[in-house]
Amino acid sequence: MSYIAKPSAHHPALPKNALGLTRRDYEGTMSTLCAGCGHDSITAAIIEACFEMDLPAHRIAKVSGIGCSSKAPTYFLSRSHGFNSVHGRMPSITTGANLANRDLVYIGVSGDGDTASIGLGQFCHAVRRRLNMTYIVMNNGCYGLTKGQFSATNDKSSPSKKGEANPFEAIDLCQMAIQLGAGFVARSFSGDKAQLIPLIKAAISYKGFAFLDVISPCVTFNNHPTSTKSYDYVRAHNMASENQLDYVEHKEEITVDYAEGSSASIEMHDGSLLLLHKLDQQHDPRNADAALMTIRTNAAKGSVATGLLYISQDQQDMHDVLATVEQPLNAASMADLCPGSKALEAINARLR
């Protein structure tokens, strides 16, 4: 951990976004994670994505649980709302916040322990409820805060740093998310910002549950040559080139042409476009079965399918499903929030 603060000076020619802010304005405090931690790269990618999308920081809420990953929100968007919750309970907190104020952008940050172990039930129900949020798992396959024990996402073939075998099969969170009905499912790698940043932007644009599983090497406990979550292994087995994506904001003109049949464009709710190129014959992310197939066949070969794995273009989010009021509760009038005993009696009468 560095003892000094990141210098306030920045490059004088640093680009500014539509809000007149530089990417430095989207930073948080200095990271206390280990040097070289993949989580810091994901942090940098979130900063870059929010900067490029011209998001005002005060319209974003970042929510997390417990773990190395869940410390990360401190290191980005220091001007946003934040809630560092109980272990595994990030989805509940986000659900509550989202119900109360549907106008904020929700970025949930969790880890493989926080999501695939203690918070697995919470995770499932957040997906099932189509919570409108971006759910990022910083997945390093181990418990870095407690000396690197295997987590539930560590591949069976991947032994510990000291050579201990992993006795159990891994939980694949992307497959789970697709099966539970997530509308947007992607996997990426902390060491590949060219892929990760457009995915984060697309996930934030997506209305509904957007799930991002980001493999993020633990440099201290899970970056040895035999680990399947190491920088070298993921780089050697990443299928990123098979599935590339561009995120185009609705205000931009699309200037790139792709050969017919090899690309597809998907319009997002906010009018922005996802351009998918090098679209594989076997894998069209609009098809859940094909997505599951792609993940499984790659996993069987020891390779990692990354990129946008699945997208549903007609998912309704939780507010649509529940037909909630359109305005956030803090903008509702007192009369609407407390309609009085007559209204209560009417409801009770309906249920008697």
Partner: protein, 601 residues
């Protein structure tokens, strides 16, 4: 691009902008750190070894280091390097024990030094520790050259000048002051083993316009007038004074005039203000004392009434575009202005004049009547005769004169030893890790956001009453420490070892000035374009690594690097390290570099 060869000392030398820009390559960040630690004597000695006159230069240096300072690119203002140098001189205490030993047994070589300015004094300082006998001639009664005659004492007190000049004279210089050399041919007959000419550019330019002769009694050549003031031949000036010229001499003239009784003193410049030759800080000082600067004023005639100067008529100029050299092109606007005055001081430039050098002694001159001098060796076309300072290539400044002096001393030593003069001794350099522990460095890497600290000034009314009251009071130790903290330690280099890199992006993500990139290689122009922040400052290098595992390279734009060391702190594999680069320019006498050499690893 090919990987950067960091074994070539030139690469990291250039990253230390201040040291690179300094003609004598003084290790600026090193002495600023010493000042921050309160080790003023050590800071002074590093300076003295390198630039010979720290107390003088700490007040009146042209400071090429400051425009070069990286801090001036990162924020608005550079580190006050010059004023920190003065702090080292002001608080150094006793330093006699650190002086080089002068051998009692001389080596039998006698060197004549003509002109007792900074160039000759530097040659003497560099040669005396080697056992040379130096004979120093000057037309004036005291040594110092233009430092004494042209720089007013309110900028450079005589005590400061005397101390540093006399230190060198005290090394055993044979002084022949008040003695003007009238013939080089005659001097050469005296059997000197080498002759060094450091006579400066002593001839102030004149203006041949109507009225010049008639009003001669009240029209003065600026540098001659300043000399007369310095030697106390002139004590007063008229109430209304017009200074013609826009260089530093003009600024010294107007401020001196204010102190000799001038009530209404104006500076007139032919060109627009933004291209005035004077240093920005000297213009600022003159204006602070209430001197207006009238630009675009071209003098047309001196007005004379009853045989006495009455005023100056100016043609006002107007800018019409830019000429091929990038300077504004001017044409008369038609408007004329008359400034009434009692005295005129002309500071429109200086020239060299060598009427005392015979053209028949094998010493060639060029078409501009300047001696032909070798840029590297300082030797003229007559072997054994050397030039330096303003005498070599026209008016420069003190720090260039010192740099010339060092090179001339090397040449003279080699010449006298029968060695090839063209062969120059290589500089010494070393690169040493500053790591003290995890995230601990032997230098203060925490960035200080402090703005440039202003130097306290003497009370204006009091200063204007007395020519000898120094205007700038200098920093005290507290202010000096604040200003010293602004130095970015550009000599502590970011050194990258490609085989150790795992491409985790940590350094790129943490870099506060976005100078680190991991990218596909390309030619320089394309690479400069595609960095995180395009590298537009071509004066600054790109640091290119060997190819990494993924085939990409690390490309670092040195331009804005804060040398904060966070890349090295966030690197999990120590692929980045912070290493101090020490660069020592060679001199003739190793005895004059003991403090420098102590930093080499």
């Amino acid at each position: 691009m090919a990987p950067t060869d960091i074994s070539n000392p030139k690469y990291f030398h250039k990253v230390v902008d201040c040291q690179w820009a300094c003609p004598t390559h003084t290790p600026v960040p090193e002495y600023i750190r010493l000042i921050a630690q309160g080790r003023y004597a050590a800071a002074y000695m590093l300076n003295w070894e390198s630039n010979v006159f720290p107390g003088i230069l700490g007040r009146v240096c042209d400071r090429p280091c400051e425009p070069a300072c990286r801090r001036g690119r990162v924020e608005e203002k550079p580190v006050a390097i010059c004023r920190l140098k003065r702090v080292a001189a002001d608080y150094k205490g006793e330093i006699d024990a650190f002086m080089p030993e002068i051998p009692a047994q001389k080596n039998g070589r006698r060197i004549a030094l003509i002109g007792a300015g900074p160039a000759s004094l530097t040659v003497a300082r560099d040669l005396l520790p080697l056992g040379y006998s130096c004979v120093l001639f000057d037309k004036d009664p005291k040594a110092g050259g233009l430092m004494r005659t042209n720089i007013p004492s309110f900028r450079l007190p005589a005590t400061v000048l005397d101390e540093e000049v006399e230190r060198i004279l005290g090394f055993g210089v044979e002084a022949r002051f008040g003695q003007k050399i009238k013939s080089l041919a005659t001097l050469l007959k005296d059997g000197y083993d080498a002759v060094f000419i450091g006579t400066g550019a002593p001839k102030g330019k004149d203006l041949d316009i109507p009225g010049r002769r008639e009003a001669a009694a009240n029209i003065h050549i600026g540098i001659d007038w300043l000399t007369s003031v310095a030697f106390e031949h002139v004590h007063t000036v008229g109430r209304r004074v017009v200074v013609i010229g826009g260089g530093n001499t003009a600024m010294d003239c107007c401020r001196t005039a204010l102190r000799l009784g001038g009530m209404d003193v104006k500076v007139t410049v032919r060109s627009p203000r933004r291209v005035m030759k004077a240093s920005a800080w000297e213009i600022e000082d003159a204006e602070r004392e209430g001197v207006p600067i009238l630009d675009n004023h071209a003098p047309k005639a001196f007005l004379v009434e009853k045989g006495r100067l009455k005023g100056v008529r100016f043609q006002k100029m107007r800018e019409v575009g830019i000429d091929t050299s990038g300077r504004p092109r001017l044409e008369p606007s038609g408007e004329e202005v008359v400034l009434e005055c009692d005295d005129v001081l002309m500071a429109i430039g200086q020239e060299n004049a060598f009427p005392w050098i015979e053209r028949s002694i094998g010493l060639e001159f060029d078409e501009r009547s300047m001696p032909k001098v070798d840029r590297a060796t300082m030797m003229s076309t007559r072997p054994g005769v050397f030039f330096g300072g303003d005498a070599a290539w026209g008016p420069e400044n003190i720090i260039w004169a010192v740099a010339h002096g060092h090179q001339a001393a090397i040449s003279i030593d080699r010449f006298c030893c029968g060695e090839e003069v063209q062969a120059r001794p290589a500089p010494h350099s070393s690169l040493a890790s500053q790591k003290m522990g995890i995230h601990e460095w032997s230098y203060k890497n925490d960035y200080s956001a402090v703005q440039r600290v202003a130097v306290p000034h003497a009370d204006k009314a009091q200063a204007l009453r007395n020519l000898k009251v120094e205007v700038e009071l200098g920093y005290d130790d507290q202010l000096a420490a604040r200003e010293a903290a602004r130095c970015l330690n550009c000599d502590v280099q970011t050194v990258f070892t490609a085989p150790l890199c795992i491409e985790c992006d940590a350094c790129m993500d943490i870099c506060p000035v976005d100078c680190i990139n991991f990218t596909a290689n390309d030619d320089e122009a394309a690479l400069r374009q595609k960095l995180r922040v395009p590298a537009r400052n071509k004066a600054q290098s790109l640091y290119i690594s060997d190819p990494l595992k993924t085939g990409r390279i690390m490309a670092k734009d040195e331009d804005m690097c804060l040398h904060c060391g966070l890349c090295a702190e966030r690197c999990p594999t120590s692929a980045w390290d912070m290493k101090k680069f020490m660069y020592v320019e060679a001199q003739s006498a190793a005895a004059c570099l003991t403090h420098h050499n102590a930093y080499l690893r």
